[in-house]
Amino acid sequence: MNIVACLHAPPPDPDGTGLGRDDIHALAQALALAEATSGQVTALLAGTSHESGPLQRALVAGAARAVRLGGEDYASVDFHTLGQALASGIKRIGADLVVAGARSDDEGLGAVPASAARHLGFAYIGNVEELAAAGPRAIEVVVRGGGRKRRLRVDLPAVIAIVPATSGLPPASDRTGNPSEVELLTLNDPETTVVRRRTELLGKPEPASRGTEEVKAASELIAALTR
């Protein structure tokens, strides 16, 4: 089974994992599934060479390949454009299953996997917390919704958005992530031209005026939160 794990370069954070918000869970699920099916994981990230840290982290954790989708500035594009670009890359790589963190983009939208699925023509399941093999062309996933916790058998190919479960990233294998092992894939032929949308560009970010107020008692905490 060929599994592509789509990663996101998070903002610099010395205390962070170096991966997008839910990417650590997506990568862990992908690696566990690959091990169970004798498959392989290809980590994919759209970004600049300075943003390839998550790919090196994926190589250390056990990904067979790491591919950076370059040639464009993806930092300011919306989820439609990013999903289309990732789908173009995934078509070139080849995948039975695509996994991604559900809320790994900076705005926590969780819409990139759905966009990629639409451009790939793959099935899309969101908010998956467990992933298991179910034969050569299917997987089983666990999702919540409508007051039920359901185990579903999903035919491949599919795009799965992962939310945190109790599983963490497996211990690193004995290989080391060599930055030179990150492959570069550019979308520079006319058939893979990415259409830039302006959906999000008109909504300019505005600074938040949030600070942290310190209180001394539980009653003050409640009062401050509901003020």
Binding site: R118, R144, K149, R150, P164, T212, A217, T226
Partner: protein, 303 residues
């Protein structure tokens, strides 16, 4: 807000058979001007993009809308991203609505509804204007308690007959009650670090009135990820602070615990350094304050 802005509210319902009149009347009283009933085999099941996405898209195409809003704890996380992708619209997984003035005057009686979408790290937000975008905005609203009566039970119902996709490619293997579903619907969420021991979770759970959900930070992680409460209180380590972008977030941390990242918490309560009894006392005080929190936020109020 929609009525103030002079907009029409359509309620979209997915159902396997003919929509119960009582449901339509309830939607009318809650403020819907019209009900679109998508009827088709399999639509009564919990929603997935594969099974419900085409039906929802068919309903939305009938309108077409400026805004598509999902309630917290509903179908939004499964259906919202796919719908936004199909519509070519913007998406907000956790949003506030604002009623504002348009840059250029609109017709009398028509206001402008904006969607405020916070970044995940809560450092900034975008104000999305569906009119300016010329594309719809798909958004999930925070939990807000039971709806009040804002309309009439006399509401038009339009039926859309939905043919299920020829090949769905998904089969339910097993299903059980989701014990964490209450967290997805709660307008106040208390997230407890399991390192504090089971007694902290038990005390707060026992004291929580309706509308306030208390969950273990680790065991409840999948539900916390999709919850959109108005108020979050993280009890324990700084890493347990996990408020959603638009929530008011409180943190109750040990004296020696590292300070939460900038902007992660709005209000911080430090447990005094000293004997473990001080921490127990703080948990007891917090438990005793929960009814006041429920009253102030309207959590669990009767409809």
């Amino acid at each position: 807000m929609a009525h103030t802005a002079g907009l029409t509210v359509f309620a979209v319902v997915m159902t396997e058979r003919h929509l119960d009149e009582a449901v339509a009347a309830r939607l009318g009283r809650a403020g819907a001007d019209k009900v679109l009933s998508c009827e088709g085999r399999g639509l009564a099941a919990p929603p997935l993009d594969l099974t419900h996405g085409p039906a929802l898209y068919a309903a939305v195409e009938r309108i077409p809308p400026l805004l598509v809003l999902f309630p917290a704890g509903g179908a939004g996380p499964q259906l919202g991203p796919g719908l936004a992708s199909r519509l070519g619209g913007a998406y907000a997984a956790s949003a506030d609505l604002e009623l504002g003035e348009a840059a250029t005057p609109l017709a009398d009686g028509i206001g402008r509804v904006f969607v405020r979408r916070w970044r995940a790290d809560r450092t900034s937000y975008r104000r999305l204007d569906p009119v300016e975008l010329e594309r719809p905005v798909v958004a999930i609203l925070p939990a807000g308690g039971p709806p009040g009566d804002r309309g009439s039970s006399e509401v038009d119902v339009e039926v859309i007959t939905c043919v299920p996709p020829a090949k769905v490619g998904v089969v339910e293997v097993a299903s059980e009650v989701d014990t964490l579903a209450v967290a997805a619907l709660a307008s106040v969420l208390i997230v407890v670090d399991p390192a504090l021991g089971p007694s902290a979770l038990a005390k707060l759970s026992a004291a929580a009135p309706a509308g306030i959900a208390v969950v273990d930070a680790v065991a409840g992680a999948p539900a916390i990820a999709t919850a959109i409460p108005r108020v979050v209180i993280a009890v324990g380590r700084a890493s347990a602070v996990c408020g959603t972008p638009r929530s008011r977030v409180g943190a109750v941390l040990a004296a020696a615990a590292p300070r939460p990242q900038k902007g992660a918490a709005d209000v911080l309560l430090r447990v005094p350094a000293g004997a473990p009894a001080d921490a127990d006392k703080m948990i007891d005080e917090l438990a005793a304050s929960l009814p006041a929190l429920a009253a102030a936020t309207g959590a669990g109020a009767a409809p």
